[in-house]
Symmetry: D2
Subunit: 104 residues, 4 copies
Amino acid sequence: MAVCSVSVVPVGTGSTSMSSSVAKCQEILEHTEGVKFQLTPMATILEGDLTVILEAVRRMHHVPFEHGAKRVLTTVIVDDRLDAPLTMQGKIESVRRKLGGRGR
Amino acid sequence: MAVCSVSVVPVGTGSTSMSSSVAKCQEILEHTEGVKFQLTPMATILEGDLTVILEAVRRMHHVPFEHGAKRVLTTVIVDDRLDAPLTMQGKIESVRRKLGGRGR
Amino acid sequence: MAVCSVSVVPVGTGSTSMSSSVAKCQEILEHTEGVKFQLTPMATILEGDLTVILEAVRRMHHVPFEHGAKRVLTTVIVDDRLDAPLTMQGKIESVRRKLGGRGR
Amino acid sequence: MAVCSVSVVPVGTGSTSMSSSVAKCQEILEHTEGVKFQLTPMATILEGDLTVILEAVRRMHHVPFEHGAKRVLTTVIVDDRLDAPLTMQGKIESVRRKLGGRGR
């Protein structure tokens, strides 16, 4: 199980807004079996099998093209470990424990 | 006002855990005036004046060195716009509106 | 055709060196049909069909695990456009033309 | 001494070209004392003191705003180590040695 962040940026659309594109990417994830996801202000975070995640990334990357963009920049960061289970919630809890329960 | 994501990775420490380092970076942010922040499973997100944020990033980048790491990789993504106010909350709300109020 | 940068970072190995891992990733690319690549001081850059590239990234991501690492962070940035051919060489030449032929 | 990659992306300009912006960022670097740099197809790579580099990044980030962009996304990756000198050339040579002198 890997945890990944994904950000898909349409370039040259003439609009500074990216929220429509992010919303459509989220709709793809709602229909992707086996992937948990969470929206953050800078990226969407995915948790699941890496092969399934990379296939979801490929489809998210194509979303702006389907809505008229001619150029797309997609940034993916994969965090993957073998020695312990890796989950979005586990990563956050691990930091909060070290902060004595506080932490935003 | 800019919104940025920051991830600080100690390399060659012999430990696969990064939560202590993330927690110490968060303590720096708790003492940084004028910067809002939010922990996510893949990065810490900062909101504030870009110059103040970059100075906080510089201090976060040094945290693992102060705790024995010999190499550190820090990834920063800055999102900055002039045509509308940019906040962490505003970015999330903008996507949720397009999803008809749902969205994780 | 897309151009991508890929960086694969072993975490918790006890060694600050990453060059062995980068070299082994490069050997994978030498045996990947249809992908051009170029080593830079911060990432390996790939040019080719996006599906082929993402499959190469998946294999590069597994290299450190095969050599004992227990955690791996992989960063991928995909640049993809429909309105003009996108190549590593073309991107550099386009900047150099704007610099009047100079440029490093 | 740190080695960093920097990529500055204008958003919402109506143009898919980014080479003018990259060229203007390069002109900033030509006038920055103490920073070596190298253009690659995906990012500009900088070598120098981290404080000087972060100040150069801040100025590069503002380039698209000065030429009409209303939103800018800048990605910075910092590689910094204390146990050995870190240079762009040294990083490449270290990989090439492991490849027996070959390597692109």
